[in-house]
């Protein structure tokens, strides 16, 4: 599994890539793209619930990032990802505002992840459209906590740092968020159980 915590070499690489990308070194920007697009895509997919729409937005996010990289002042992987996700959030909001969605996505459209999941026994097929609809019904904090923890794969401390809340608040938030999601996605489940 990807380790979201950058090691020393990775941190150095990011500083160098970012410096070069700010000077419009396209190769360096391509390196940043390769290192981050999966996570940005995961975020977009969870928000819009459709593979093709998420791929369109992925392109929009990186084109916007390329145009603004000169003004980006961060130097770490975390800062860069956070910046990309802010751009991604803006793109998702634009899309929602323009009512451009395809809620009729079928579960059969969901591509295979190619990753064996240990929870397959209790898992059902991913219902992307339902998940993205359910996420839209959460508060912003609740949505961000589950996206950070489960879609981006950050641990509790990293999520706490990214969201600027203490670990106890993150635990409470994720509990409320998942209880609400379970209630929305699983008929008969009591949110307050």
């Amino acid at each position: 599994m990807r380790n979201p915590l950058p090691d020393e070499n990775s941190a150095t690489r990011y500083v160098e890539w970012l410096d070069r990308a700010r000077r419009q070194d396209r190769h360096a920007f391509a390196q940043l793209y390769d290192a981050t697009y999966r996570r940005v895509f995961g975020y977009l997919l969870a928000r819009v619930g459709e593979q093709a729409a998420a791929e369109d937005l992925l392109q929009e996010v990186y084109l916007a990032a390329l145009q603004a990289i000169e003004r980006f002042r961060g130097r770490t992987e975390g800062e860069f990802i956070g910046w990309l996700l802010k751009i991604a959030h803006g793109k998702v909001m634009d899309r929602f505002r323009s009512h451009y969605r395809h809620p009729e996505l079928k579960t059969s459209d969901v591509p295979s992840t190619g990753v064996a999941d240990p929870l397959d026994a209790i898992d059902q097929r991913v219902r992307l459209d339902e998940i993205s609809d359910a996420l839209s019904q959460l508060t912003e904090d609740q949505r961000n906590v589950v996206l950070n923890r489960l879609v981006l794969g950050l641990d509790l401390e990293e999520t706490s740092k990214v969201m600027g809340k203490n670990v106890g608040s993150i635990k409470a938030l994720q509990h409320r968020a998942l209880a609400r999601l379970a209630k929305i996605l699983t008929p008969g489940v009591d949110e307050h159980a």
Partner: protein
């Protein structure tokens, strides 16, 4: 007894890490099921064809759309006259003779920092990347010609060689950086000057008797110039602002 939030967190940590989850609390099962589905979403990748198409699209965005500039901070339009005035004042303060002598000052001269400063101001006042590229290449070519003359007369010290070669390399790098993505005209102008610099350095290599650090630096400089000519990136200067550091040279 552990709080439900702690039990949930323990299971979520397992889901995130991909470890098997031990279910002890059936009330949590629907939440863990949702969590697992969300984790799966995070593992879905865009199609490889789309990933590649985006990469190509990113490489094709014209530089002007990006508002691209090199790392050297540029002056806004209203600041350029101010910088020009400041430089003129500086020249007057240094005295006309000194200022006129500065363009050809050598590294062992107290006017060499003035020469570097003068060049830095010229670059700042240049309007386009192509003009900046040509300026940098010209500055490097002037130094290469000077170095060849000095070597021919055997009137050179190791310190001068090191400084001149370092400044030639950094200016060639800057010229390439500015010329990159700025159209074939700028690239061609820089390449032509790099050809002249390369010839000068080759002559120096053949005529001079450099060894040790000087010899190695000469080889590096030549390599930087040749790689610039062939369109490959030379050894880049990551500090970005050579002119600034140059002004501090003795």
């Amino acid at each position: 007894m552990r709080k439900a939030e702690d039990v949930l967190e323990s299971s979520l940590a397992q889901i995130v890490s991909g470890a098997p989850v031990q279910l002890t609390d059936s009330d949590l099962q629907p939440m863990l099921q949702v969590a697992t589905q969300l984790r799966q979403v995070g593992r879905i990748a865009p199609s490889p064809a789309r990933v590649e198409r985006i990469r190509v699209a990113l490489s094709r965005v014209p530089r002007r759309e990006v508002g691209a500039r090199s790392a050297t901070p540029r002056l806004s339009l209203w600041r350029r006259p101010v910088a020009g005035l400041a430089f003129a004042t500086l020249l007057m303060a240094l005295g006309t003779t000194s200022a006129l002598a500065a363009p050809s000052a050598l590294p062992d001269s107290p006017l060499y920092p003035v020469r570097n400063l003068r060049e830095a101001v010229q670059v700042q006042l240049a309007g386009t990347a192509a003009q900046r590229a040509t300026l940098y290449a010209n500055f490097a070519a002037q130094r290469a010609a000077q170095l060849r003359g000095l070597v021919g007369r055997k009137d050179v010290t190791p310190g001068m060689v090191v400084t001149l070669l370092r400044d030639i390399t950094s200016r060639v790098d800057q010229a390439n950086q500015e010329a990159k993505d700025d159209g074939p005209a700028a690239r061609s102008a820089v390449s032509q000057l790099e050809g002249q610099i390369g010839d000068q350095l080759t002559q120096i290599q053949q005529e001079g008797e450099f060894s040790g650090n000087d010899g190695a630096q000469l080889t590096d400089a030549l390599r930087a110039v040749r790689s610039g000519q062939s369109g490959q990136p030379g050894p880049s200067n990551q500090s970005g602002d050579n002119s600034k550091s140059d002004t501090n040279q003795p």
